[in-house]
Subunit: 529 residues, 2 copies
C-alpha cells in the first residue's frame, strides 16, 4: 500500500466547534495567501512547463494513488461536511482517481498537443514557405474555483486541477467553504504527492476565501481561471477576468436545466410510464438534485401525465430525506421552490418536503410539479431558471400542434445536456429538427438514459452555450478539458537543437503529428502571383 501522508492527521473536530481555530492553525501550512500563491505559481511555471511529459504523467498517477490510499481518511470528512452519501462519495473519489489516470494517459500519448508540421516548400502557391512547427504550450498559472457539490471530482483534486496539471500549468485552488477541512486534507495529499514526484514547489497551492479568490484572479501572474458553481458567482468572476488590464480566459460552468423530451412515440422506448417515472425521479433526486446535469424539465405528450402521475408520486415519496450541502444551498432552493409553487397553473405531482435541522441544514425530499406549455411560456424565468435541488417540472405538450424545435432556442438557449426519448424506429422531419436544435443549444444530446450519468472519457462534452458555461468551446469533463489551459506557438526555421522534443526531426517523443508536405499546393498553380 502506498504510504499515506494523512496517517498522522489528528481526528477532525466538528465544523464550528471550539477546536476549529486550532485545526486551522495546525493545517495552515497548506493554505497560502493569494499574493504568495501567485508568486510561487509564477516561479513554478517555467520549470513545470519544462518537465517532460512522462514525468508529469507519473506525477498525476502519484496523486491518484495517494488519493486512493487515503480514501478511508478523506471520505468520512466529506460525509460530515457535505451530507452526501458514502457510496456516492466513494464513487466520486474513485472517479477523481480515474480521471487523474486518464489525464496521465493523455499526457503520455501527446495527441492533445495538436502538432502540425509544415515542411519548407520553395514551390508553395504563395511563394517560398519556411519550415513551420506548431504545438500547444501551457498558458501558465491557473486559478481553479472549487465546486460545493462534488467535494472530490470538482474540488481540490478534481477535473479542473487534473486538467491544468496535465497541461503543465501550476494550480492555485480556491477552496469551497462548504467543505473546508476536506479541502485542506486533500490539498495536503496533492502537495505531498507532487513534491515526492519531483514537481516544482508551487505546482499546487490552496487558497481560501472569496477575497483571496478574486485577488488571485486579478493577479497579473495568473493566466486563466476555471469555476463550477452558480450563475451569479460565475458571471461576477467572468466579468473580473474579462475586465483585467490584461484579460485572461475564464472557464465557468454555471447553470443548466437539462430538458428531457418524450416524443409521441417515445414512451414505449422509455419502457413505459412506470419505467420513465422511476428513472426520472431517480435522476432528479440523486445527490438531492444537487447536480449540474439534473433534468429540470420533462416534456411529455398530452395525456401522458395521467399515466405518469401516480408512479412519479410513489417514486418521489419513496425517496428518503437527503441533507443539502450547506445552508446557502438550502435558502436558494427554498426560494426557487416557493417561486415555482407560487406560479399560477403549477400543479404539484409530488409535493416534497424541506425541513431545516438544528444545525441549519436543510433536509429535502423530491418536489415534482406539472404545468401546461402555455403556463411555461407565460411564466418565463420564474419557471425557466435553474432550481438547484431535487425539483423538476413536467410539461405536457400537444405533439400535433407544438413545434418543439422552434421552442428550444427561446426556452432553453444553453444547457449542458438535452435528452430525447423517441420511438425505436421513429424518423421524421420534426424529430430531425428537434435533435438539430438541441445540438445547437446543448453540449451533450442523449438518446434515452438520464443526463446525470457523466462518463469521463475522450468524447465527453460537459459545457454548452450560455448560461450553461461562459465558454462553450470548452469542456470541464473528459480528456479534452486540458485544452482549456493550452495555447499554440509556432517555431519557424528553427535549428533542430532549439526545438522542443515533440517538434524535432525524427519525432523522438513519438507524438502524433500532422504534416503538410512540400508540393501539396501545386494544384493551385493556376493562380497568378
Amino acid at each position: 500500500m502506498t504510504h499515506s501522508p494523512l496517517d498522522t492527521t489528528p481526528d477532525a473536530p466538528e465544523a464550528g466547534s471550539a477546536d476549529a481555530a486550532t485545526q486551522v492553525t495546525e493545517e495552515q501550512s497548506v493554505v497560502t495567501s493569494a499574493a504568495d500563491a501567485a508568486a510561487r505559481a509564477h516561479a513554478a511555471s517555467t520549470p513545470f512547463a519544462l518537465t517532460d511529459r512522462a514525468a508529469r504523467a507519473d506525477a498525476l498517477l502519484a496523486v491518484a494513488d495517494a488519493l486512493a490510499a487515503d480514501a478511508d481518511t478523506l471520505v468520512p470528512v466529506g460525509l460530515r461536511e457535505t451530507g452526501l452519501a458514502e457510496a456516492r462519495l466513494r464513487g466520486e473519489l474513485n472517479r477523481t482517481v480515474v480521471q487523474l489516470r486518464l489525464f496521465a494517459d493523455t499526457v503520455r500519448a501527446g495527441d492533445y498537443l495538436d502538432v502540425r508540421i509544415d515542411e519548407a516548400d520553395p514551390g508553395f502557391a504563395l511563394g517560398a514557405r519556411p519550415d513551420l512547427r506548431r504545438y500547444l504550450v501551457p498558458v501558465g498559472p491557473v486559478v481553479n474555483f472549487a465546486a460545493s457539490n462534488f467535494p472530490f471530482a470538482f474540488s481540490v483534486a478534481g477535473g479542473d486541477t487534473a486538467a491544468a496539471l496535465a497541461a503543465g500549468c501550476p494550480v492555485i485552488l480556491k477552496a469551497h467553504p462548504g467543505h473546508p477541512e476536506l479541502s485542506r486534507l486533500t490539498a495536503q495529499v496533492v502537495v505531498r504527492a507532487l513534491a515526492e514526484a519531483g514537481m516544482p514547489d508551487g505546482t499546487f497551492q490552496l487558497i481560501e476565501g472569496q477575497d483571496a479568490g478574486i485577488e488571485a484572479l486579478r493577479d497579473p501572474r495568473v493566466a486563466a481561471g476555471s469555476f463550477t458553481g452558480s450563475l451569479g458567482a460565475g458571471r461576477a468572476l467572468a466579468d473580473i477576468a474579462a475586465s483585467r488590464p490584461a484579460p485572461i480566459p475564464f472557464f465557468g460552468e454555471l447553470g443548466s436545466v437539462n430538458p428531457v423530451f418524450v416524443t409521441a412515440d417515445g414512451l414505449v422506448s422509455a419502457g413505459g410510464a412506470d419505467a420513465l417515472a422511476a428513472g426520472f425521479v431517480a435522476s432528479v433526486s440523486g445527490s438531492a438534485g444537487q447536480l449540474c446535469t439534473k433534468p429540470g424539465f420533462l416534456f411529455v405528450p398530452t395525456g401522458t401525465l395521467a399515466q405518469l402521475d401516480a408512479p412519479i408520486r410513489e417514486a418521489a415519496e419513496g425517496v428518503a430525506a437527503h441533507r443539502l450541502l450547506y445552508p446557502k444551498i438550502t435558502s436558494g432552493y427554498v426560494e426557487r421552490r416557493d417561486t415555482i409553487l407560487g406560479v399560477e397553473g403549477v400543479r404539484p405531482v409530488a409535493a416534497g418536503t424541506v425541513e431545516v435541522d438544528d444545525d441549519g441544514h436543510g433536509w429535502v425530499t423530491p418536489t415534482i410539479v406539472s404545468v401546461d406549455l402555455d403556463t411555461l411560456l407565460s411564466a418565463g424565468e420564474d419557471l425557466l431558471d435553474e432550481a438547484f435541488g431535487p425539483l423538476s417540472i413536467v410539461v405536457e405538450y400537444d405533439p400535433a400542434t407544438t413545434d418543439l424545435a422552434a421552442l428550444v432556442p427561446e426556452l432553453f438557449p444553453g444547457s449542458l445536456t438535452a435528452t430525447v426519448y423517441a420511438g425505436d424506429t421513429e424518423q421524421s422531419d420534426d424529430l430531425d429538427r428537434l435533435v438539430f436544435a438541441l445540438s445547437r443549444h446543448a453540449g451533450r444530446v442523449l438518446f434515452g438514459g438520464w443526463p446525470t450519468g457523466v462518463a469521463v472519457t475522450p468524447a465527453m462534452q460537459h459545457g454548452g452555450p450560455w448560461p450553461a458555461t461562459t465558454n462553450d468551446s470548452s469542456t470541464s469533463v473528459g480528456t479534452a478539458a486540458l485544452l482549456r489551459f493550452l495555447r499554440p506557438v509556432a517555431f519557424q526555421s528553427a535549428p533542430d537543437r532549439m526545438l522542443p522534443p515533440e517538434l524535432r526531426d525524427g519525432n523522438p517523443s513519438s507524438v502524433p503529428r500532422a504534416t503538410a508536405p512540400a508540393g501539396e499546393s501545386t494544384s493551385w498553380g493556376s493562380t497568378s502571383v
Copy 2:
C-alpha cells in the same frame, strides 16, 4: 474564364468626388443594417450549418475563383483607396484566393472536426460507459470587423470571413472605412458567388459604420466576433462582447512590437552587418510599416550599432516615400513618432520624413532610432508601445551582463512574433532560456528571417498573449483559424440514423476519427469502485 459579376460595374469615381454619393446609392443593395443582417444571418444559420462539407468547400472555391477573375477590377480600387503598391495588392489578393482554397481543402478533409468516438464499454473503470460521439459544430453568426491594412486578406473576403464560412457560420462583415468602395465591390463578388454556389441567403452580409458594428456585436443572434485593428478599438469591442447579457467569444488581433534579438554570435548567421541592416529596413518599411508583424525592436550586442549605423541609414534613405493608409493612421503615426523622438537618450539612425499632401494623406520614409537598454527600461510605454508605421528602435545591450530572457516578460509580455539570430552552432543556457521565454510571450518564434512574411498554412500561428490578441488560444492566419468558430457537441447512445454523417457507423464521410475502444481502461482495474 469564370464569369465576372463585376464586368458591368461603372468606372469608380474618385473618393470624395461629387459622384461618391451616387455610387453609394447604386451599391447600397449590398449594404445591410445591423438588425437586418442579424436577422438574415440567424435565418441562414441552420441551413448553412446543415450544408454538407463538400458543398461548402465548393462554395469557398467559387468565391476564390470569382475574386481571382475580378482582380483587374478590384485592384485599381484598392490602389486608390489605400495607397498600397500594385504588386503588394495583387500578391495580397492572391493570398486571399489561396487561403479560401486552403480552407476548402480543410473543410473537405474534415480533420478539424476533432471527431472522438468512445465505444460503449460495460467494463469501464467507472462503471458501464455509453456510446459517445463528439465533434465540432458551427457556433452561429459571426461578426467580423475588417482591418484597414490588408484590404483583401484581412478585409471583406479575408481570413476571418474564409474561416467562419469554412466553419459553417454566416458572416456579417463590418467594412473598414479606409476602403469603402473596395469593400462593397468585394462584398458583391462574395454574395453572388455564394448565391450561385447555392448557399443560403444571408450567408454573407456587409454592414458599414461603427454604430452598426457595435449593434451587430451586441445582437443576441450573433454568436462570435473577430477583429483586426488597434489596441483601443479592439479592447472596446472585447469589453462589449464580454459584457453582453449572454457573453460571446471575441477574437481580436490588436498590437504587437515583434522584437528581434541578435545574440553575441548572431551577426554572422545574419550574413553580416550589411545584410542584417538591409533585411531589417526592408521589413520595417514594407507596406510603410503598416503590418502587425513589423519588427519594432532590434536588439544587438554592444558595439554592433557602429557597424549597422551607416548601412541602416543608407537603406532607409533609399526607400521611396510611401502613402499611409488613411488620415487617422497618419495622425497616430506622427504622435507615436514624436513621442519616441522626444525621449531623452533616443538617437536617430535614419531620421525619416512625414509629409501630408493636399488630400490629407501622409507620405513617409522610414525612421530608425537607437537607444541603450537603460533608456528603454526607464522610458517604459513611451518607447514600448507599438508605433504603427515605418519606425523601429535598435537597442544595444551588453551580452556579458544582460539577461535577455529575464527582460522578455517585462518588456514584451505579448507579441505576435519574436525573432532570434543566433550563431550557427550556438548552444547555451542563456539562448535556451531566451527562446523559451519568447515561446511564452509570442505566438511565433523565428530563427532568422523577418516576421513580416506570414505563411498561410496549417502550422502558422498568428496570435499571442495580450496585447497581441484578446485570445491567445487562437490564430487568425492559417487553417487552424476556423477553430475559433466551432464548439463541441457530444451525442450519447444515438441511433445511427440520428447522427450527422461524420459520426455514423462506417464513417460514410471519411473523416479522421479518434476512437477510444472498449476495454482500454482495464489497466485501472485495481481501483475499487
